[in-house]
Amino acid sequence: MPKKVLIKGNEAIGEAIIRAGCRHYFGYPITPQNELTNYMSKYMPEAGGVFIQAESEIAAINMVYGAAGAGARAITSSSSPGISLKQEGISYIAGAEVPAVVVNVMRCGPGLGGIMPGQSDYFQAVKGGGHGDYRNIVLAPNNGQELYELTVKAFDLADKYRVLVMVMADGALGQMMENVEFKDKETPYKIDKPWATTGSGMKRKKNYITSVYINPDELEAVNIRLQAKYKEIEKEEVLFEETDCEGADIIICAYGLAARITRNVMKLAAEESIKVGLLRPITLWPFPKDAVGSLADKTDVIMSVELSAGQMVEDVRLAVNGKKPVHFYGRTGGNLPTQKEILNEIKRVLEKEVK
């Protein structure tokens, strides 16, 4: 039986990277994910892997593109401003269909913003961020165990679909100490990637990896193939968690840290005989559209709670499609909404919507 280890969220991600068999990490320091870069600098070489502190986030994501193109599992991690810099590389990786993993331990913006936790990179992560018609799979853990498990899963999904998978944590989850069980064996990962730039060894035709197609028909064919792949992912890979939604007075949609806070609000509300349900998307893309859409049959009011000025709420509204009112509550700047605040907002909304 693997035993549980008390570990910081950022370090749990680090352990997941190694146990997923990834041996190539490229980083650049930024708070609040520094523990991860530090962890990698120690344990990656110990595991026989490569750790590079790059000259910038731009270089780091391009090292990932090179290493992953050459057939390795490769990862970079950063926080919001650094993730902005990686967007060019992310678009290239999507276009070239190279499997890669990026971790964003979100802080708050815009600009240099602040180093406190935030969830204001939702648009950037799920709506594109970089240029072109592409999608990343976006995973949103809400505790240490999930930081670990979803990071391992991120590599599997990346390889399965040859896409980029982003793990979206935040400063609070990254810094929090929690008990985590490391389930996976530590084995360097081997998978046949016949398309990779490994050097032909004179045994096959050349491989080349590119995202440029000057001929419109060729590029459109690539886009059509990408979209078909994204459809398949939307069909197969949606993950969410639904708690107490049936017959709820109100259902909260929240992910990551906001979902954790909401769980406590549910208990607080129950004491006042208000039944609060929780729909927690685990994949932000593909978004659990059907599950969120069907909330309209289970309750009269829906509310998105986020550490942002209202980003995921747009997808919640799209999914609910006007069938029931959708409200929003959020805090920004690194302030966390208190349980009391959220409960008050729930009461206000119910007052307004339920006569």
Partner: protein, 247 residues
Amino acid sequence: MPKRLHPKSLENTIMHYCPGCSHGIAHRVIAEVIDELGIEGKIVGIASVGCSYNNYLYFKFDMQQAAHGRAPAVATGVKRVHPENVVFTYQGDGDLAAIGTAEIIHAAARGEKITTIFINNAIYGMTSGQMAPTTLIGQVTTTSPLGRDTSLQGFPLKMSEILSQIDGAVFVERVSMHDVKHILSAKRAIKKAFKVQMAGLGFSIVEVLSTCPTNWRLSPVDSAKWVEDNMMEYYKLGNYKGAELEV
């Protein structure tokens, strides 16, 4: 009839480069060197952004296309996965000396065991002849229509000189490809740069003074002369580092 000797590492296809452009010559020389070193099976090239963006169609070995300026970072990733491979970047002056300055400097600083072939044609070829960081003083381009004025547009970057200051860069040489004699010595330099990498000594780079007749608005013959008369004046040919290395 004499058999036309076509390098094994070069596809037998028509390239899209303009008449008199150095890119095609540089491709052939690189392919010949790879053949002669017998490394076709373990070479991986990184194409960049510029007129040579799709040279993976011309070279006959594994390649990866990189974003503008990022080729040294991509090469770093490729090389670190397969240290036994020989990895090179092929970059223009806009790519290497403007947008990609950080990447080239730090690949050199890390002593990354890769080789860079740097095509310096003193202009942005692909985007229709804008001023490059290597554009000569007084040179007319589409974005320096009155000639590069140092009081407004500063000075051309001498990348070989700059890179040779970096300890991780162990072989730095500037060559030209404007005539046969120079092409032959360029080939010797490129071969040595690859050998330095294969010996695991560190970062190596060959800067190639190149022509862009189309955007220089000169004939191929006059372009060759322009390299000799103008570029070689400012960009002195020769070895800047590692001449003594025995590889």
